[in-house]
Symmetry: C2
Subunit: 140 residues, 2 copies
DNA sequence: AGACAATTGCAACAATGTTGCATTTATCTT
DNA sequence: AAGATAAATGCAACATTGTTGCAATTGTCT
């Protein structure tokens, strides 16, 4: 998965640098959004020293390429688990345990874009966040 | 419109204070997302001095009540122009001029929630942001 | 008008994000 | 495999944004 992102980077002419690989690894492992400083902290515990400026720049890049997203809730960053399905990403955020799951649906995506089109808006990509309870937390 | 929000506040047991009214007024006037410090700045030019801590707390409250939202892009705050249609808010963000337009669609909203349900997720409310070009900017 | 709980302002602080520039590194060429 | 070169990193300093506890104030209810 990290490998996929690296390839995307290179395909667009960006270099596969050590800091970028490390940031991608950390994002990959986390199922919850994490902040730039969180990422730096995790890497430090592994003896990998990366400047926070670099992390910011890396995250900016990943977001521009739709490989990661900044969440509305909390503001942390999350690696997209699905490779940009028509530029449409949906995240379900459990308000109890904080777990996040991504899903895609092309049909829905087309409908949404069409609706926007009807209002004169030309959509390039879109993001959705659903807030509620995951199955586990709903049981209680 | 500000009046509606004030009523919602009071209906939930919150007080209709001077700072809250002022913040709502500023949000109401702006069609683009604005930051807490922007709001403070605008108020200051009108001779209204409001502490930034208060503005933060007010925005937190408005977001909790779904009267405003923090946008993913840029992180600014925006007053919802539509009164929470089934807890579903859609914003179209023009990547050229920055204009934002909100729209709602109950049918789509139901479909989305159903899809999430199929995955075991119980949605309480959700937010979408569409990025692209508004009709004006698309012409060019 | 007075009481009471909610809200604000203040001060100090903590976290997060940004810029310019010298140094380093990945990739391409030969 | 070594060198050239453009891109990317690290550093330092700074700027902005967000948070906490507590005393003073204010809106609402009686």
């Amino acid at each position: 998965m990290v490998q996929d992102s690296i390839q995307t980077l290179q395909a667009q002419g960006y270099k596969a640098t050590r800091p970028r690989k490390l940031v991608l690894e950390v994002l990959e492992e986390s199922e919850k959004p994490i902040s730039p400083y969180d990422i730096q902290g995790i890497l430090r515990t592994r003896g990998k020293q990366i400047n926070h400026v670099t992390i910011y720049r890396t995250l900016d890049l990943l977001c521009r390429l739709n490989l990661a997203h900044k969440m509305m809730s909390g503001g942390g960053f999350l690696k997209c688990s699905l490779n940009a399905a028509e530029g449409c990403h949906r995240f379900m955020v459990c308000q109890d345990c904080g777990a996040i799951q991504e899903f895609a649906n092309k049909e829905l995506c087309r409908e949404e874009n069409q609706l926007a089109r009807d209002l004169g808006f030309h959509t390039e990509h879109h993001l959705s966040e659903f807030y509620g309870l995951c199955s586990g937390c709903y049981e209680k």
